[in-house]
């Protein structure tokens, strides 16, 4: 029995966290938020050199062939540093789906992801939430319709599109008959887009890949939960550091019990949340029958604790916490955007109930 991170995992975490602190400090994030797409290709290549972009890509395609728990640790570090990257779509969701889909084209795309030359976005929102008349169809080999809130799509080369629960397509973002509009959200560190299809021809169509799609969503949900948890850690660290330094009424505010209790309540959520995340990520590879339920619970739960932590950590900062200058809002917005990116907490809990036979399947 050993429910702990391995030496290798601790090393990965440490290496990546110091790389990010060095390469993408918050000043750099402030610059990136001004770009049309915050996902920086130079950073993506540097991450490829560290083996991060191909973390889930099999070794045969030049990746590291590691487990989802390793990818979750990366995701957590990215959330901690509010780094804009297409990691969620390109390095977690797409490799999981392409590995299930198989075929020569998939293999070359996987190699491109591992090498850092290729960036993928995903247009899968309609699998769990249809808004504004969205929906994509495949007619005579061409794509039609609309996809909303496509993740990491703006600066991407290729897009993985879910046509329905069993069918995936890969389409180039510069195809004729494809029009992309960035949908600006509160969160400048993760880009989402609307994609209009009017006869775009996909590079590949994968049919009968329902279980691969389900795995892709589970992996994405667990990785997104990790991103959220990393953001939570960062918010608690900032609140505690500020509480030790800011003085009012001739004492540091961290000696006021109201402030102490705010900090304790936050860490009392983060630590068990970390344990849940480890287990969920571990289950994805080691106990796959448990993974769908764990994926729903871990994302719903971290989203809930994150909302409270984002509010409380801001309150610990007082007025400065409400400014752009203080930076805390980057995390507040990161977790705000994440909350509905792969299904909101209510929908995820409904799904968790269905999976256990507590609710009729919709």
């Amino acid at each position: 029995m050993d429910f702990a991170l391995s030496e290798d995992q601790l090393l990965l975490e440490e290496t990546l966290r110091s790389f990010l602190a060095d390469r993408v400090p918050i000043e750099r994030v402030r610059e990136l938020r001004e770009k049309a797409c915050p996902n920086d290709r130079a950073l993506w290549s540097a991450l490829a050199e560290l083996g991060i972009t191909g973390i889930l890509v099999p070794e045969a395609q030049g990746g590291s062939g590691l487990a989802l728990l390793d990818a979750a640790l990366v995701s957590q570090a990215l959330g901690h540093a509010v780094t804009p990257t297409p990691f969620l779509a390109s390095a977690v969701m797409v490799p999981t789906a392409l590995a299930a889909a198989g075929g020569g084209a998939s293999e070359s795309w996987l190699a491109g992801i591992a090498g850092g030359e290729l960036v993928f976005g995903v247009a899968v929102t309609e699998l769990f939430s249809v808004r504004e008349g969205a929906g994509v169809s495949l007619e005579a080999g061409a794509l039609h319709g609309k996809a909303m809130m496509a993740i990491d799509a703006c600066g991407a080369d290729l897009l993985l599109v879910a046509v329905d629960e069993d069918t995936l397509c890969v389409v180039k973002t510069d195809s004729t008959g494809l029009e992309m509009t960035r949908l600006t959200t509160v969160d400048a560190t993760r880009c989402t887009a609307e994609v209009l299809f009017d006869g775009a021809t996909p590079e590949a169509v994968f049919e009968g890949v329902g279980s691969g799609i389900a795995r892709m969503l589970d992996a994405g949900r667990i990785a997104l939960a990790a991103d959220i948890l990393g953001a939570c850690e960062a918010m608690v660290e900032q609140a505690v550091a500020y509480a030790k330094q800011r003085k009012q009424f001739d004492r540091v505010i961290g000696s006021f019990q109201a402030v102490k209790h705010m900090c304790s309540e936050m860490i009392a959520e983060v630590e068990p949340g970390r344990s849940l995340l480890w287990y969920a990520a571990h289950s994805f590879d080691a106990l796959p029958e448990e993974a769908p339920l764990m994926a729903c619970h871990v994302l719903a739960h971290t989203s809930e604790i994150a909302r409270e932590i984002a509010s409380v950590s801001t309150q610990v900062h007082g007025g400065i916490g409400w400014t752009d200058e203080q930076n805390l809002h980057f995390w507040f917005k990161r977790i705000g955007n994440a909350r509905h990116l792969l299904g909101g907490p209510e929908a995820l809990r409904q799904r968790a109930a269905e999976l256990q036979g507590f609710a009729a399947t919709a």
Partner: protein, 397 residues
């Protein structure tokens, strides 16, 4: 990461399971039901097979195995699964025995540990006083020297099972001139000594379940000095081992409780539909399940740290706070899912599960307070876990 226990442990698990299946008592052996002899026999049998007092040395009445955390976890899991309590969940075994093992004299260990583990001697914990709860070190009960004895005068309160206990481990002030923490001694006191008066206090749960609440008055109570545990005046240090054990012993079978709650929600109907069919109640259940799963795996993580001899750090300090609140919240949903019948109590007509959830709700509230309140836990998390500064002392008037 490796969640397998391995073949040796799985063999041990089978042994435990077979033992429980073969020997389990047909009914709960509650003291309150006068089941003393059966209870002693059942505890002795568990010790003989090594499923209780497993790592306590033989010369003190235990089984004498090497400490092995995984074995403990497996025993707890298997007894829990069978719905049988392992050993005795009382302050004697969980608090006094570890204290004697680390601070008791040889004579004290030989005399008290065995009978305590077999349930022959029931203990109560005489710490809290009307004026000293969270601020326990401000306790005022005095013990004055008289020859080979101490003579105790004062009052304790919130003393669980004092009305039934044969013995009390008590904190008293033996050195009135020493500082607040330095003047305290930890003493073993027979409850039939003259001068002790126990007055039961009715609890909010009306006494359902094992525990009873009391206040205890001491008037010129004589106790030999030889009954002091550890050194005279070092009772605060001695008691702190005990308090650490109290916090660690709060390990509820939350997953089992959640499933019991789920079954209840499938049975109970509100407006003609099962509570489980209502998205509102179901959503609450799913929120609780995520918390239960968090705490379950948090327990595994803490167990791993202990196995490796690593410090649990701040992650360990949050356990009592979270588990106690989680228990209370589960009971709250159960009560709500029963609608207006959720308040039925005291074995009245239509009552569900013999009032279990109401009793559980009140008991878990008690545990949020007892053994260090939630607010005290948050102080500890902030100060010891996060390094925030201690509260400045108020200026003397």
């Amino acid at each position: 990461m490796d969640l397998e226990y391995g073949a040796r442990y799985e063999a041990f698990r089978t042994q435990v399971r077979d033992f429980v299946a073969e020997h389990r008592p047909t009914r709960p052996l509650r003291l309150a039901d006068g089941k003393r002899q059966e209870r002693i026999a059942w505890l002795s049998l568990q010790i003989e097979h090594g499923y209780w007092a497993r790592t306590i040395p033989r010369e003190y009445g235990g089984y004498g195995a090497e400490p092995d955390l995984l074995e403990t976890v497996i025993m707890d899991e298997e007894f829990n699964k069978a719905g049988v309590s392992r050993g005795m969940n009382a302050q004697g075994p969980s608090m006094l025995v570890p204290t004697l093992l680390s601070h008791g004299s040889e004579e004290q260990r030989r005399r008290w540990i065995g009978p305590t583990l077999r349930g022959e001697v029931l203990w109560c914990q005489g710490y809290s006083e009307p004026g000293a709860g969270s601020d326990l070190a401000s306790l005022q009960t005095r013990a004055t020297e008289d020859g080979d004895d101490f003579v105790i005068n004062g009052q304790k309160i919130w003393t669980t099972t004092a009305d039934r206990a044969e013995m009390c481990f008590i904190l008293v002030r033996t050195e009135p001139d020493a500082g607040k923490h330095a003047g305290i001694s930890y003493i073993l006191l027979p409850m039939d000594t003259s001068g002790i008066e126990v007055q039961p206090l009715r609890t909010m749960s009306g006494g359902i379940g094992e525990s009873s609440f009391n206040q205890v008055f001491f008037t010129d109570v004589r106790v030999p000095k030889a009954n002091v545990v550890g050194k005279r005046g070092e009772g605060w240090k001695v008691a702190n081992t005990t308090l650490a054990h109290e916090r660690n012993s709060l390990n509820a079978n939350a997953e089992g409780k959640l499933m019991r709650l789920a079954r209840l929600m499938e049975r109970e109907t509100l407006g003609g539909v099962p509570a489980m069919a209502s998205p509102i109640y179901r959503d609450r259940l799913m929120k609780l399940q995520a918390r239960v799963l968090s705490m379950k795996h948090h327990g595994m993580r803490m167990l791993t740290c202990s196995l490796k001899g690593e410090s649990l750090g701040v992650a360990g300090l949050v356990v009592k706070l979270q588990n106690c609140q989680l228990n209370f919240d589960m009971a709250a949903l159960a009560i709500d899912a029963m609608g207006e019948l959720g308040v039925l109590y005291d074995h009245t007509k239509y009552e569900r599960e013999r009032g279990y959830w109401q009793a559980h709700s009140m008991l878990s509230l008690g545990l949020i307070i007892g053994g260090g309140t939630a607010q005290i836990q948050k102080n500890i998390i902030a100060e010891r876990g996060l390094g925030l500064p201690r509260e400045p002392k108020p200026k003397q008037a």
